[in-house]
Every structure is written in C-alpha cells, then in structure tokens.
Amino acid sequence: MRSLTYLEAIREGLLQEIKRDKKVFMLGEDIGHFGGPFKVTQGFLEEFGQKRIIDTPICESGFIGFAVGAALFGLRPVVEIQFFDFVACGFNQIVNYAAKCKYRWGANVPLVIRGPMGAGNRAGPFHSQSEEIWFGHTPGLKVVMPATPYDAKGLIKAAIRDNDPVIYFEHKNLYRRIRGEVPEEDYIVPIGKAKVVQEGKDITIVTYGAMLHKVLEVIKEKELADISCEVVDLRTIYPLDTETIINSVKKTSRLLTVHEDSKTFGPAGEITQRVCEYAFDYLSAPPVRATSIDTPIPQSPTLEDRYLPSNTDIKKAIRKILDY
C-alpha cells in the first residue's frame, strides 16, 4: 500500500472531505495561498476557492465564534489554529459556547478545531503545549489525537462528519517524521475507540500522540527483551475507551500510562482511576505514569529533553513495575 507521512494523511483526509461535502469549509490564519506554517493546506485555496478556504484576521475568539455560528446554520467548519497554544485566546467560545449548545438548547455544532500541538521541536513555551486536559475535561466536546498516518486520515474524516464539536490535535513533531500505510479510499477511524497497537502479556502501556512512537521504540530495546508489552494507543481522549484499557489490564495486570502532557492533573490520573474502578483486583503492581514535568515547556534541547519523559524514564518505569 501507499505510504504517506502523517501530514500528508491529514491533508488527504481534509481534501477528500472538502470534495465530498460542499458544506465543509475551512478558516484560519494564513491557510490560503500560504498553506499554513506547516503547509497542511497548501494548494487548497487554488483548488476550492475563497468561499471554502478562508484566511482570517488574527482573532481566535472571533473566528471560532464565527465558525460556531456557521455550524449552527448548516455548514461544517474546520477551523485551523495556527499553533494550538493560541487557542487559549478563543477559549470561551469553545468551552462555553460550542460545548454547551446541544445540552442547553438542542442545537448541534458540527465543528472541527484542528492544528499543530506538542513539543519536541525546540519551539519553546508558546509553540509546544499539550492542551488535551482543558478540553477533555469540558463536557460537550470530543477530543482526538492521532499518532499514525492511518489514524490521522481516518480521524479527521470522522471528526468532520461528526455532529458535535471535535478538537483534533495534530502532533507537529510527527508531521514529516512519521510515515505509514494509508489507503487512498474513503474510510473513517471511529471517535472513541482506542487501539491495541501491540499485543503483550506482562504490562499494559497506555499512551497516545507522539509518545506512542517513543514507547514503541523503547520496548524494542534489548534491555526489555524479556518483557512482553501490550501497547494501547488511545487515539481519542474523550470519550475515553475504558473497555479497551480495562480488557488489556485484566490480561496484563499492570499499567503504565505515558503522556507528553505535564504530570499533575494530567491524563494519566483518569486512566489509573478507571483501572482502579473496573479492574482493581487484577492489578499486581501500582498503576503508574511517565509524563512530562510540571513546568512550562522550555526551548533549549537539554531542557526540553529533561521536560519530556525520556526513553530511560519509560524503561525504568516498566522495569520497576515488573519488579514490583
């Protein structure tokens, strides 16, 4: 099968959806002629015209609100946040307007908010953040974060067809680094379904986004050759696929959550909590986590590397759980 980069897969998903449904349109800063800083939308304006690919002024709150209005009245907007860090400037529109329409007055908001997030590119505190908790903890939103080209395409298509507001996180560090097989045809990856990426029997490692690749790399290291790891890629942050996680932990009896987001009140707590609620008696070691540290995201390589969970960190965690 064809192999595409993560970025190409997102592009293809977007392109197919814009072609398929004339209600779909995109808006954001510099997405037109310029194609966005990462060139995700390059050529879109030329192909679909100014009515479908709209460059906006710098006003996250304004254009997110604008997209909500358009979603309420028959369109399916896909908003690009140039870097997801800037979404903080449009926060109210998402958490108070988009998220609550359906519940309050029955109006559904088929809106996708997408853009690059994540660290690893030496891009500093304002171009690297993980924001899944802000949105994952806001009822009314769905939150997805693909780790592979296949899922990236399938999830952007699912997000656009979904009738609720979906936050679609693209990990910028994967854009050109990760390649994988992607069918040309139309397919979706359902929102709310995690995936067992690798089967194993000794420990369940729950992760997602860029960390999936780090985990897959680490568990191949010689030092861990004696350990059989099962790796679960969440793919969707909310709604969380409890079933897949629990089934895996019931099998392995051990849980490590690895995430790039910072530690305290980060995603791991919820995974651990659910495992305690549904599978406590299966646990033979404490469910633990390897995460980034509780600081803003520093830019310089030595610092950013210390910020992120390292290969060694993950290895030590696995080993300590197994030795428990």
């Binding site: 006003c59 609100g65 604008f66 209005g69 769905k142 549904y278």
Partner: protein, 346 residues
C-alpha cells in the same frame, strides 16, 4: 456610507405600514411588558428559578428591529431583547416554563430565562458571557449566504458588552469577510452598576464603526418605528454583500441589572426623565393620534395579552419539573456510549 448618521424621525414616514403591522408592534412590546410584570410578582413570591431579567423601557429596540427582518434572518438576543425572539416565534409560554425551570421549557430546565434558541425559527441562544454571541451571529449569517440564502444576522450588545474583545474581533472579522451582520448596541446608560462613562471614554458607541470601515447609526431606541425603519434599511445594505453595520440606540434600563439588584445607584431623576419616554406609552399615543388604533381594539389587544400571560403561567405551573435523568442526556448529538457515572453502580 461610513460616517455616523443620526437617523431622524423622518424615516418613520418613509413607508407606511399596514394596520396589522402597526398593531403587531404594539402587541409584541406589550406582551413582553405584561409577561415580565407578572414574572416580577412571581419572582417576589420566590416562585421562579434564578433571577429575573427585565427589558422594561427597552422593548421598542428588540421588537422594532426583529420585526424589520425576513423569516430567513437570524437573531440572537442579549439581556434586554426578549421581544426580538418573541417576534421570531418564541412564546411567552416558553418563557414562563424557562423561569419555572420546567421540563416543558425549551431548554428542559437545563438553562434559564431567555437563554433559548431554535434553529428552525432562526434564533440563537445567547450565553451569559458578554460579547460572545456577536461572532456567532456573524457566522450564522455568513452560513446562510454561503448556502445561497439572502439573509442577515441581527445581534445585540449592551454598552457594557462593547468593551469585550469579542465585540472588536467580530466586527473586524465580519467587515473583512463582508458578513451580513447588523449589530445593535444598546446604550442604556448602565452595565450592571457601571455607568457608561466608566465603561468607555466616548459619548457615542457608533463612532467605533469607523474603526471597522462600516456604517454606524444612532437611533432613539425607545421609538419602535424609528428602529423598525432603520433596520429595514440597513438590512438591504447588509444583505447585498456590503458587510456589517452598527446601530447604536439610546435608551435606558428602567430597573436593576436583574431583580436582585435594587439599582440605588441610578439617580431618581434619570429614571423619571426616561419614564416619560416609555416606548409603549409613546407608541400607543402615536397610534391613537394617527388614528391607527381604536379604543376597543386597544382593549381587545390588552385582553388578549392578559389571557396569553395567564395561560402561559398556568401551563408552566402545571408542567412537571424535569425528570432527573434528563440531566444525563443530550450532551452530544451523536450519542457516545455513556460512562456508568457511579462506581458503586458498576
């Protein structure tokens, strides 16, 4: 067309309305007034859920503007604009159910007061955050046009709400994208306890239109016909792809921010002065003077309204409170497998 224009009373004579239209305008203003008068009593009796927000003295703006729209147009009220969505087809009955927090209310008891909307009616629910609905209405109007429907969006904002970032972002964005937005800024002298002079350093909000390269108008917000005709006119402008318009109405909030607020901070004389400009009294006088309504028509209209209010209350009172399980439903359109909420029920 981008200078500020003071829209004079001449406009009222621009086009004659039918008698039914004249009467409609009165009906809408009056039904809002009378419904709220009754709700005030109920509020004092402790029967309502949440506080009560009144439009008292400002009914002309919401009613006159919404009445100038076409069915395909979109409206989102702010605090004082209940009249606008009544014109668009929402009912006093719905409002009573909202204030009584009943399952029969448009929000099923999930939200309160005038926080209602209905896509089919072309109404958008506001949220509490000031300014937030302006870009939403711009986007809604844009969506209509995008689908080939000649429609505009009518949004409201208070003098206080004009200080928000969303006011600015929405107007600039709508101007650049030529979204057919009509924004009525209701300069009613107060934002909660804050006088307009502490809210901004300008006298006329409409002057800000210049900063977006769009037309700005100033109107007497207590004159329903002036508002009606002005909106009729700017609607034509906006719908033809010329982009947004700001209308500033001068008016006065005649009670506290909401009914828990005793508005002691408002000078008595100001209230007395504006009492004389009451939009309903004035309009009835106008109709009578111009022989557009007879005494018996007036009596009948009042009776009809009283009956409607009475029935609305009865309906709400007799409606059940929401079944608790409704708390858990309708968070999403596309049902997702709901989590068992309680561990002890697993």
């Amino acid at each position: 067309m981008s200078a500020i224009k003071s829209h004079s009373n001449e406009a009222a004579k621009e086009a004659e309305l039918t008698k039914k239209q004249y009467h409609d305008l009165l009906y809408y203003m009056w039904v809002v007034r009378k419904a709220e008068d009754r709700l005030l009593v109920l509020h004092r009796q402790g029967k309502l859920i949440g506080t009560l927000f009144r439009c008292l003295g400002q009914e002309a703006t919401a009613v006159g503007s919404a009445y100038a729209l076409e069915p395909q147009d979109v409206v989102c009220p702010m605090i004082r604009d209940l009249g606008s969505i009544i014109v668009k087809g929402h009912t006093i009955k719905e409002m009573f159910c909202q204030y009584f927090g009943r399952e029969t209310a448009p929000t099923k008891g999930r939200d309160g007061n005038h926080h209602i909307g209905d896509i089919k009616k072309g109404t958008i629910s506001c949220i509490s955050m000031m300014g937030a609905t302006i870009p939403v209405v711009a986007g809604a109007a844009f969506a209509k046009q995008h689908q080939g429907i000649k429609a505009v969006g009518l949004a409201f904002v208070g003098d206080g709400g004009t200080s928000t970032g969303d006011f600015h972002e929405a107007l600039n964005l709508a101007s650049v994208l030529k979204a057919p937005l009509i924004l009525i800024t209701e300069n009613n002298n107060w934002a909660y306890s804050t006088p307009t002079s502490s809210q901004m350093n300008i006298k006329d909000i409409a002057i800000r239109a210049q900063g977006y390269g769009i037309p700005g108008y100033i109107l007497d917000g207590n004159d329903v016909l002036e508002v009606y005709h002005a909106v009729k006119k700017v609607r034509k402008y906006a719908v033809e792809g010329n982009g947004p318009v700001i209308i500033e109405v001068k008016t006065m909030r005649m009670r506290g921010h909401a009914e828990h607020d005793d508005f002691k901070y408002v000078p008595k004389e100001l209230l007395e002065e504006w009492k004389k400009k009451d939009p309903i009294d004035r309009y009835i006088k106008y109709l009578k003077n111009n022989k557009l309504i007879t005494d018996s028509e007036l009596t009948n209209l009042e009776k009809k309204i009283d009956k409607e209010v009475e029935e609305a209350e009865k309906f709400a009172v007799n409606s059940p409170l929401p079944r608790p399980e409704l708390a858990l439903e309708d968070v999403y359109q596309d049902q997702i497998k709901p989590d068992p909420q309680r561990w002890w029920e697993i």
